[in-house]
Symmetry: C2
Subunit: 282 residues, 2 copies
């Protein structure tokens, strides 16, 4: 999916909601445990319940990988289930990968080259620490995206991301990451992760990357404010994908979990529509 198509879907669905698919066997409704593949059943119900309101899905690879081979099978089935919806949803592998060039090339094949691994994601999240040659192998894949970590939503973001860099007009590490890495690709094949818990920083970030899409986790369970994210971060193309995981997935732990997930997704979409109108995207 290219940038134009993504923006088209946002306008059509009046939403910039990304649903995080981070299923935990201990948290999913009990009645699903009788199924052959409870994780896939859960994802299937969540996708069906939210597809009208979501423009993106983001499986967090950690949750699948930790189940061993059965986890990868559940992930594969989930992506296959999304196949008929490929023109309307952007699919992100939240993998936070990154290694020296020839290893990053392997990770890129994992997530982008269906012939090799069975997967065909639109984007993968990548860690910046190892620099350009750890990121560029992902950018070599046509019509695929890197979503680079800039400013994350966790407490540990304070450890290194806010360190002041010498001789840079007071720039902090996350700002140098944005400044330097934005030259590796374009707004057509790179996005950035910016945590919603750091919403006030979006104003500074927009000075460095006015056009790039930002993937914003941390709304909902992690406490970020959707209104602040829109006020500080939205650009004329929207430029935002806001992720919600736990608040949608676990809106209810009972038989009505899919209905409640749909209600939660609709609530977010309705609020998003207000901001899309406020900033004249639609």
């Amino acid at each position: 999916m290219n940038r134009k198509e993504l923006i088209g879907n946002i306008k059509k669905k009046k939403s910039f909601l990304c649903v995080g698919l981070d299923p935990e066997i201990k948290k999913i409704p009990r009645h699903l445990l009788e199924k052959e593949d409870p994780i896939f059943e859960f994802n299937k119900c969540i996708i069906s319940a939210t597809i009208d309101y979501a423009v993106a899905y983001k499986p967090n690879i950690a949750f699948y990988e930790s189940m061993g081979i059965p986890g990868w099978i559940s992930l594969q089935k989930t992506i296959n289930y999304l196949e008929p919806y490929r023109s309307e949803v952007f699919i992100i592998a939240d993998a936070k990968r990154g290694d020296i060039g020839n290893s990053s090339a392997q990770y890129a094949r994992t997530y982008f080259d269906k012939k090799v691994s069975g997967f065909d994601f639109n984007a993968v999240t990548v860690a910046p620490y190892m620099g350009e040659d750890s990121v560029s192998p992902f950018l070599e894949h046509h019509n695929k995206w890197v979503i680079l970590l800039a400013l994350t939503s966790n407490k540990g973001a304070l450890d290194f991301q806010f360190l002041n860099i010498s001789n840079s007009d007071g720039k902090r590490l996350f700002e140098k990451v944005l400044e330097i890495s934005s030259k590796w690709g374009t707004a057509e094949n790179m996005m950035y992760v910016v945590g919603a818990t750091q919403a006030e920083m979006l104003k500074e970030i927009r000075k460095i990357v006015p056009d790039h899409f930002l993937l914003v986790p941390g709304v909902g369970a992690q406490g970020g404010s959707l209104q602040q994210v829109a006020d500080y971060g939205m650009n004329h193309d929207c430029g935002l994908l806001v992720n919600a995981s736990r608040s949608i997935l676990y809106a209810s732990a009972e038989n009505d979990f899919a209905v409640k997930a749909r209600e939660e997704a609709k609530k977010l979409k309705d609020e998003m529509e207000i901001y899309l109108r406020k900033y004249s995207v639609i």
Copy 2:
């Protein structure tokens, strides 16, 4: 495996060699392609050929993950094959993972909790960008190790790792990573990745982390010098694991690949023995 046992193995084998298991289907000898699982067959031959000279093995997860589910099966069989040697070799998942706390906890289970994922590595490589809570879930596993990226062996290391940090007596980012993260664990459960292509930096690094083990990739195919690594980086417990991958794995592409791999490993071990004696570790 604890630190004392690791040092014991280094002294016994007179080696600090780590063999990187990064098999590529295009590079392994043709005759193995007839086997049911060529990747596992290749690893089995490499392990048998090098076990006398290696104190550690390091599968690079990128290479397995990119083959999809068959790749994970080859990796599982490889680790199972190492089972009888567990007391004499340290096994590292070179995965470069790292995410917010609850996701890192999932990655830690993947590599450390056999009951959950089938894997039981001794250590996993972790990226530092997301800070303490992205690393600490790995440290909660008893007798397991985090190997944190500090200074990597690739060209992209120059992009961020060498940025000067304000108000830090001229420290660069990789030095701040060492300084700050060394308080998260101890020399009993943390190591650092320091590329051999940056050997002269080992002197500075030893001022910050005199006792920690360093995992040093980049000797051989990437051009780093083993002598420099030992001269600048060795401490009284050795404190080094030097990795070689391609120079051993692909010493020959013919039927004699295992013999040639053994010769290459022995050559490195013989050189390592000289440095272990020079610095009175043995």
